[in-house]
Amino acid sequence: MKKVLSIILVLVLFICVFASCVPVENANSSPSSSTAPETSPAASVENKNGSSSGSSDTVKIGIMLPYTGSSAKTGELMQTAIDLYLEKYQSNGIDSLGGAKIVLVKADTTGSPEVAITEMERLIAENPDMVGIVGPYQSGVAASTVPIAEKNSVPYVITGATSDYVMDDDNIKYTFRPTLTNSVIAIDVVKFIANLRTLAGTDFAKIGFVCEATDWGASVRNGIGKAVEAAGMTVVVDETFDTGASDFSSSINKLKSTGCDVVVTAQYLADSLLFTSQMQEYNCDVPILAHGGGYLVSDYVTSLGNKAEYVMTTSGFGPDLVDQISDTSKQLRAEYIQRFGEDMTEYTAFGWTSIAVMCDAIERAGSQDREAVREALAATNITDTNHPALALMGYKGIKFESGDSVFGLSNQNIYATSVMLQIQDGKYKYITGAADDSIIKFPFPKWSER
C-alpha cells in the first residue's frame, strides 16, 4: 500500500513537471484564449524551431512576445490582436508581392530581457528570409533587444514599451515605435491635472507619487515629477516600493498627513489591488491617477468591484474612443466583444497597430528586402483615419520622426498621444479634456459617503 501511494505521488509530481513544460498559450484557460482561434486563417504560424525555407509566395514576420511567465496574459492579448488583424486585412496576402501570404515565426520573451536577447538572436539566425520583427512587451525587454535588431539590420516595430530610453539613441535606424512614449504621457498628465484643478475649484498643487522601484516607476516619477514641478506644483510624497509589496499603510498615511491633492501611481496588478484596497481601508480620499499598469488590466475592476470606481488612469487607448474613430472601428470592437467575450484593452491596440504598421510598410516596399522595408517604414505617413493601422488608437496619424519634435528620441511616431480614462460603473470611460460631470466624475464621493 505504501509503495503504491509513493508511486502515485511520484507520478503526480512527474505530471506536474510535464504540465509546467506545456506552453501557456495552449494551457491557459482564460476567456479570451478559450475562444481565440488557434491560428489565424490569414497567417500560418511556425513553431519556435520551424525551418521552412521562405519562398516568394510567403512573407516571414518574427513575433516576440511573452507567451509564458507573469506577463503571459498580456502576450496572449497582443497575439490575439495580431491574428485578428491578419485575418481581417491580410487574408489575401501582400498585394504588391503577388498575394504572398504572411507567415509568423514566434519567439517567447518570457518577459525577461536576457531570454529575449537569446531568442531574438536565434530568430534572426534561423530565419535569414524574415523581413522584420514585431514585438515585444515591456520597456526593459525592448531596450535589450533594440541593439540586436540594429546590429543585424532587421526592421523592428515596437509593440508595447513606453519608456523614453527604448528609443533614446541617435544611431537607431531599423527600430520604429508607432505607439506613445512616457514624455507624451507626462505632458498629458500635467494638462489633465490642470483640468482637475478647474473642476475641483481649489488650489490643486500637491502631488504624490507611489511608484514601483524599477525602470518604469523611475521614468514615471522623473518624467511626470519634472513636468508637474515645471508647472508650479509641489511633489509632497515620493514613495518607491519593490514590486509585490506586502503593505502600503506607510505611504497612505503620508498621503493623508501631507494633504496631497492627487497621487500618481506606477504599479503592476497585485500592487494596484492592494494599494486601492488599503486606500479605502485607511479612508484616504486622495484621488488616484494611475500610469496604466495594473489599473488597466480588466482583473483590476473585476477583483475590486466598487472600490475601483472613479479611479483615473492614463492609457495609450480608450475602449469607447474606438467607437468614435470610424464606423469600421466601432464594428470591429463590437465583433471583438462578441467573439472573445471581453472588451479590447490597450494591449489589443498595441498588438494591432504594430503589425498593421509592419504590413503597411511591406506592402509599400513591394519587396522582401530588409533595407527596402526599413525605408518604407521610415517613409510611413498615414493620416487617413480609415487606414487599418489607425483603427484602434485614435491617433491623428502615424509618421516617424527623430530629434526635438519627439523629445530627442529616434523613429518615434509624432502623432502618438495618451488618453485619460476613468472607471465608471465598472467600465473604462474616455475622459480626456472632459469639462463637466456628465463625462468625468470629479470631485467624487469620499469613501465614507460611498
Binding site: 505521488l9 515620493d238 506607510s250 468591484g305
Partner: protein
C-alpha cells in the same frame, strides 16, 4: 509622532501574521533540520485553496482557515511520510542536503502548476471583513489585520504550549535536540517528523486564509513572504516558536517605521541589513541563550 505611532500599530498587526507564516518554517528546521524552500509555494497553494473556498463555495474566510489547516495538515503528513522521509533516511546522520534541493524543486513545480491553472494575474477576494476599519481616536486599525493578528497569535501560542506541555511536544523537542538519542529513548522518529511537518503546514494553512482576507492572491505571492520568513526565523532563533513571534513583530515594526521615515524600498533594505547583522553577530537568534 502620530504617523510613527500609527506605523507601530500597523507593524505589530502585520508582524503577527508574518510570525504565523514563519513559525512553520522554524518548526521544520528546528525538529528536522530541513530548510523547506517550498514553504512560500505551499503558502501560495493554501491561499488559492482558501480563495476558492471563499469565492466559489461562499465559505466564510475564517471558517476556511480551519478547512485549510486540516487540508494542509494532511498534505504535510503525507509529504513527509512518503517523500521527504525517504530522502532523510538516505542522508543518514548528515544534514539533509537532498531534502533541501528537493523542497526547492517542489516549490518551483507548485509555482509553475499554479501559473498554468490560475494564470499570472492577481486576484483579490472580497470578504465581508475586507476594508473594514476600527477607529481608536485618530488611529485607524484594519479589522482584517486585527483579526488575523489575534488568530495568528492564538495559533502560535497554541503551538508553543503543544510543544511545551504534551507528550508529542516533548518528543518533538527531544528529537530536535538529538535525533540519535531520542531514537534510543524509544521515540518513533518517523512519526515525529510527520507530525512536525503536518503542524508546520497546518499553521501555514491558517496563515494563508488570514492573508486572503486582505492580500491579493497570485502565483508569485509566496516569494515575498518566504523571504520575510527566513529573516524572522534567523532573527527569532531557528526552532523557537516564541522567538518567531518576537521576530515577526520586530520585522513588521521595522518595515513600517522604515517606510514612514524613508520609503518602502529602504525599509526592505533595513530588513536585509538586520538579517546580515544577526547572522554575523548572533546567528543563534535574539532569544537564544547559546554561546556564540
Amino acid at each position: 509622532m502620530f504617523l510613527y505611532l500609527q506605523s507601530i500599530i500597523d507593524g505589530v498587526l502585520l508582524g503577527g501574521v508574518y510570525a504565523s507564516i514563519a513559525v512553520g518554517l522554524s518548526l521544520a528546521f528546528g525538529v528536522m533540520r530541513i530548510i523547506n524552500w517550498a514553504h512560500g509555494a505551499l503558502l501560495m497553494a493554501g491561499m488559492y485553496f482558501s480563495y476558492y473556498l471563499v469565492t466559489l463555495a461562499g465559505i466564510d474566510v475564517y471558517v476556511s482557515a480551519i478547512i485549510a489547516a486540516a487540508a494542509m495538515f494532511a498534505v504535510g503528513y503525507l509529504l513527509q511520510k512518503h517523500l521527504l522521509h525517504r530522502l532523510i533516511t538516505k542522508e543518514k546522520e548528515r544534514e539533509p542536503i537532498n531534502v533541501l534541493l528537493f523542497t526547492s524543486g517542489l516549490g518551483t513545480v507548485i509555482t509553475s502548476v499554479a501559473l498554468i491553472f490560475f494564470g499570472g494575474d492577481s486576484m483579490q477576494a472580497n470578504t465581508p471583513y475586507t476594508g473594514k476599519t476600527i477607529l481608536a481616536g485618530d488611529f485607524i486599525i484594519s479589522q482584517t489585520k486585527l483579526i488575523a493578528f489575534i488568530i495568528a497569535l492564538v495559533a502560535t501560542l497554541a503551538l508553543y504550549f503543544f510543544i511545551q506541555r504534551t507528550e508529542t511536544g516533548r518528543a518533538l523537542r527531544a528529537t530536535s535536540q538529538n535525533r540519535v538519542i531520542a531514537r534510543l529513548m524509544g521515540i518513533n522518529e518517523k512519526r515525529i517528523y510527520c507530525v512536525a511537518m503536518a503542524l508546520s503546514l497546518a499553521i501555514l494553512g491558517i496563515s494563508s486564509s488570514l492573508l486572503v482576507s486582505f492580500y491579493p492572491v497570485s502565483n508569485t505571492v509566496g516569494v515575498l513572504f518566504s523571504f520575510k520568513s527566513f529573516i524572522i526565523v534567523v532573527l527569532g532563533g531557528k526552532g523557537s516558536v516564541l522567538g518567531c513571534l518576537l521576530g515577526g513583530i520586530l520585522v513588521g515594526i521595522i518595515e513600517k517605521i522604515g517606510g514612514t521615515m524613508f520609503n518602502d524600498s529602504i525599509a526592505q533594505l533595513m530588513l536585509f541589513l538586520l538579517f546580515v547583522l544577526i547572522l554575523l553577530f548572533k546567528p543563534s537568534g535574539l532569544l537564544s541563550k547559546e554561546k556564540e
